[in-house]
């Protein structure tokens, strides 16, 4: 409802698919407004010409639409009461519950001073060896799954979320199908974890541009719990490709010169501003971001995955291993950049070398397979790498394996000893002396 202090204008001069321009004075940059009752935000001011991005799209907006400026930037009411609730992109409940009472917090707020950050050092375990062994995650990290649209990424995300020891899980659903939304809801409910979870959801049925608000909403909630409650917060953002698509729609409407793949030239900064909200605070609170970036045709050189890769601290790939008929976390292309901070320090000392040796041998197996496909004869070593690779996939990489890290390391040593000599494995002697299993 407009109040006496709000300024109301009714002369819309220009309308595009996502924006409209109105003559108005004393308007602040980034300020919220309503256009014809729909939420909008100031994206450009030229003298008294104010351009607004209308989140729900401009369908049906007339030139005499009522434009009301609200005198504030987009915000979220933060408080304990967010827990267990489901919201839309504006932070309004969609679960039938009451509005949340709390402090009004602007979204997309300032960045943490880098000198006030703490180096991430706390291990996150998931029981999945493709993650814990090969691509160990750390609190305060940001990492996406690069996934094909038909891969079970949302299921894996839900598994990861529920297995980690996060105090709080914030789900940012960006263009989720209604089915996936209901899937998350039921998985969280069935796990009895609802009280730990806050969800902001924009489904495919909702307007596209609204999606732009979801990550900021989710991260503002995460910041509240991490800063004020010192909680370990895990933020799930799925699917960030749809977020970037929404960005390009808006920037194209504003006549910005597109750069690669018709994405805005500012894509890197736009994405970085979100992902860099991942942080470990001195006081113990942290924000960890696990996201999904869907690929089209597996192309990681497309501007969206490419810019994401340059921002995040590694990436995880899922792959169906036809040898064992299961989904694995691909050991070649997946990488956790922050694993160095914990492996061999927070985990057993042999972790780094075992991890590397196994991946190297797995790579040798891939070479052997290529040879085989090209019709060449295999050496004895080639044969052994293939046997190793199959067991490695089945006993370690498959995402349905759920064991602790020591067990993963022991398993790897057993596989080494079964298939190779010490020299072929090439691990530091002091470690081999200690961990190489006796003849089985």
């Amino acid at each position: 409802m407009p109040t006496a202090f709000q300024r109301i204008y009714t002369k819309v001069e220009e309308i595009t698919k996502a924006t409209c321009t109105v003559r108005a004075t004393d308007v602040g940059y980034d300020e919220l407004a309503t256009v014809n009752g729909q939420l909008a935000q100031v994206v450009k001011i030229m003298g008294d010409q104010v351009t607004l991005q209308v989140f729900a799209g401009t369908e049906g907006v007339p030139t005499d639409a009522e434009v009301v400026f609200l005198g504030k930037a987009p915000s979220l009411k933060v408080g304990e009461a967010l827990a267990g609730r489901f919201f839309n992109a504006y932070g309004d409940p969609i679960d039938g519950g009451p509005q949340v009472e709390g402090r009004e917090q602007e979204i997309g707020g300032p960045s943490v001073n880098p000198v006030r950050r703490k180096q991430p050092s706390e291990l996150i375990t998931t029981g999945i060896a493709g993650i814990d062994l090969n691509n160990t995650l750390v609190t305060g990290q940001k990492i996406p799954f690069f996934a094909d649209p038909d891969q079970p990424f949302n299921q894996v995300m839900a598994t990861v979320a529920l297995r980690t020891a996060a105090d709080r899980i914030v789900l940012g659903g960006i263009g989720l199908t209604n089915d996936d939304y209901l899937y998350f809801k039921s998985v969280f409910e069935n796990a009895g974890a609802l009280h730990r979870i806050v969800s902001f959801v924009n489904t495919t049925e909702d307007p596209t541009v609204e999606r732009l608000l979801v990550p900021d909403m989710a991260l503002t909630a995460a910041e509240y719990f991490a800063v004020e409650k010192n909680e370990k917060v895990l933020v799930l953002l799925t699917d960030m490709t749809l977020y970037a698509d929404a960005l390009s729609i808006v920037s194209n409407r504003m006549d910005q010169i597109p750069s690669k793949d018709s994405m805005p030239g500012s894509l890197y900064s736009d994405l970085a501003k979100l992902y860099e909200k991942a942080v470990q605070f001195e006081e113990g609170g942290s924000i960890t971001i696990v996201a999904v970036t869907t690929l089209s045709g597996g192309d990681i050189t497309h501007a969206i995955p490419d810019n994401t890769g340059y921002i995040t601290e590694g990436q995880l790939f899922l792959r169906r291993d036809t040898d064992i008929g299961k989904v694995i976390v691909d050991p070649f292309r997946s990488l956790s950049r922050l694993k160095q901070l914990v492996i061999g320090k927070k985990t057993r000392e042999d972790h780094p070398q075992v991890m590397n040796a196994a991946v190297r041998l797995y790579a040798d197996a891939a070479n052997a397979r290529t040879k085989l496909e090209n019709g060449f004869e295999l050496t004895d070593y080639d044969e052994r790498t293939l046997d190793f690779a199959k067991e490695y996939s089945d006993k370690l990489l498959a995402i349905d394996v759920n064991i602790d890290t020591d067990k993963m390391l022991d398993t790897a040593w057993q596989l080494f000893a079964r298939h190779f000599s010490k020299a072929e494995v090439g691990i530091k002697q002091s470690l081999t002396d200690q961990y190489w299993p006796e003849k089985q």
Partner: protein
């Protein structure tokens, strides 16, 4: 602008993200700094274009809440670095505000802290005396900054000849105290303190000449020092797709390089990577002096979530500080990660100004901007005969990992060392993933460097380096043949050629940046290992069938890898060496 002129002011008339249009009431200069008053908060901004009485400014902050009509004050000068003792060990934002003295966990708009501690006293010792003829950059005195003789110089802004009227005696002084009085040719006196300011986008030219580089800059990274050496005062760049190891490599160089001063510009990259430096540098030792690394280092952090316009400024701020220390006759190493982010910042502004775009929507003058930046590096002979240098290494993050893009291409034209990181090498964990065949150091062709290498390392060194490169090249060809014809379709010799190049690859090229011993290899140890590797490669070996070769060389490589992981000449090192000798003896043929 002189003091008698009135300060130019203006009012905001347009806002598109961080580009703001200002209606001005007087003269403004290109790149002049202004402050926009947002309530009580001054927002720093820089003029990037002027059209009539409209100035286009890029704001170094978020413009949320900014309104048309808000007041702008122009400062009459460009963006400047603040130069004086106390820069080392400090962590700055892109505009040289001290991050540590800012308040709160989150960055606040307008929290512009001082670059230097204005209250700290320094033990000043004079170097000049009354009557000396001096020019910009001449040394007037010095203070001890973390064990480094920090020269107090005639400010770079002073043009022409001056005579020293007086210099204070040795004693404690704060940076703003007058330490000398100079007289110009017209007899006007100028007071000089230990603090001076200089525009960051302007090169300091207080030196006599810039000779060609001739001296190795040791980094401890074998594939650089041995194969494609960097030199004191040289330039190089590291392009590579994401995750290929640019930052790890640059950080290794920043820790290990033989430099007096290291300036790290974290330009539009991850905050956590800067935190690594904050955590490690105060603990780690400078291998050259034994002091803590942080004592020789200054970090300029404009991470990717910090304002975009300040990202562009950050590399200039870093260069300006580097030039200041070079003028003291010091060896400065400047690292920027990533210069692509700086180019992207330029692109964002150019797009907002609706300028005619060049390739990939980058500004047309990008090649010129990159070229004049790299040109500021180099070794210089100062007017007093001393030598100082800035070695500059930047990373480049090419879109899609494709080197045919404007930033990589423009940089390739100006940087003399090219350390191309290969996706394939990174994927197979062959770190550092520098492609040994694509990469080059143009300096290797300099006779003056060849001379110093052969003198300082050993006679015939450069020939050995070429031999290593040949082995790698032939190994690559052999690998291709094996791939096409199959293991049994090629001769045993072809297999041997391949495996000998693998020895070079595994033992010289590959290096584990996270292993305490392997991470840094001093030059004498590199020399030793190169000779060892060449000896292994030259050893005639006999095999009955190609199937024996792979397991045999795995053992050879394993023994030598263990040598790399052991302290040089330790018991373990010698043991592994013995193992290597034994293994070689098994197959060695006499001839």
């Amino acid at each position: 602008m002189t003091l008698t002129q009135q300060q130019t002011t203006g009012r905001v008339s347009g806002i598109i993200s961080n580009l703001v249009l200002v209606d001005v009431d007087g003269p403004v200069g290109q790149n002049e700094i202004g402050f926009i008053q947002l309530g009580d908060t001054p927002l720093m901004a820089e003029v990037i274009k002027v059209m009539g009485d409209k100035a286009y400014v890029q704001v170094f902050e978020s413009t949320r809440g900014l309104r048309p009509g808000m007041e702008v004050r122009f400062e009459g000068h460009m963006l400047e670095s603040t130069l004086g003792p106390g820069i080392l060990s400090r962590n700055y934002d892109g505009l040289m505000h001290d991050l540590n003295t800012m308040s709160g966990i989150f960055l606040k708009k307008g929290d512009y802290t001082s670059a230097l501690d204005l209250e700290k006293s320094w033990a000043f010792e004079p170097l000049a005396q009354a009557g000396d003829e001096v020019t910009a950059g001449s040394w007037l005195g010095q203070v001890d900054e973390n064990g480094i003789p920090h020269k107090i110089m005639v400010p770079f802004k002073l043009q022409g000849q001056y005579t020293v009227e007086s210099v204070v005696e040795a004693g404690e002084h704060k940076v703003q105290d007058t330490i000398a009085v100079l007289k110009d040719e017209r007899g006007t006196e100028h007071k000089v303190s230990m603090l001076q300011k200089f525009p960051v986008k302007q090169a300091v030219r207080a030196y006599r000449e810039k000779p060609r580089p001739f001296q190795l800059l040791e980094t401890g990274v074998r594939t650089i020092d041995t194969l494609n050496p960097m030199v004191e005062g040289g330039t190089g760049f590291i392009p590579g797709p994401f995750g290929s190891g640019k930052t790890v490599l640059q950080q290794a160089i920043s820790k290990q390089a033989e430099a007096d001063i290291v300036i790290v510009a974290a330009c539009g990259e991850r905050a956590n990577e800067v935190v690594d430096l904050f955590v490690e540098f105060p603990e780690l030792e400078d291998p050259w002096t034994g002091r803590k690394l942080m004592e020789r280092t200054t970090i300029i952090a404009n991470t990717s979530n910090m304002p975009v316009a300040a990202r562009e400024a950050s590399v200039y701020t870093a260069m300006s500080i580097a030039e200041y220390y070079r003028s003291m006759g010091l060896k400065v190493l400047l690292l920027a990660d990533s210069t692509s982010r700086w180019a992207q910042a330029l692109r964002e502004m150019s797009n907002r100004m609706e300028e005619l775009p060049g390739p990939d929507a980058f500004p047309m003058d990008l090649p010129a901007i990159i070229s004049s930046f790299y040109a500021r590096a180099g070794i210089v002979h100062l007017h007093n005969g001393e030598t100082g240098s800035i070695t500059f290494i930047g990373t480049v993050s090419p879109a899609g990992g494709n080197l045919k893009e404007p930033v990589t291409e423009s940089t390739k034209k100006v940087a003399r060392c090219f350390y191309a990181l290969s996706q394939a090498r990174a994927d197979s964990k062959r770190y550092p993933a520098i492609d040994p065949i694509e990469s080059y150091s143009k300096y290797l062709e300099y006779p003056e460097l060849q001379r110093t290498l052969n003198e300082q390392i050993e006679e015939g060194w450069t020939e050995k380096v070429n031999e290593l490169k040949n082995i790698l090249l032939r190994g690559k060809e052999a690998a291709e043949q094996i791939n096409i014809l199959g293991d049994d379709g090629v001769s045993i010799d072809t297999h041997l050629i391949f495996w000998r190049s693998e020895v070079v690859d595994e033992i010289i090229l590959q290096q584990n940046a996270f292993d305490a011993v392997d991470a840094r290899t001093p030059m004498d140890r590199q020399q030793y290992m190169v000779n060892k590797v060449l000896e292994v490669v030259a050893t005639p070996l006999s095999f009955e069938s190609y199937e024996e070769i792979n397991p045999y060389f795995k053992r050879v490589i394993n023994a030598m890898k263990q040598m790399n992981y052991s302290e040089f000449e330790s018991e373990a090192f010698k043991q592994n060496m013995q193992e290597l000798e034994d293994t070689l003896a098994e197959r060695k043929t006499e001839n």
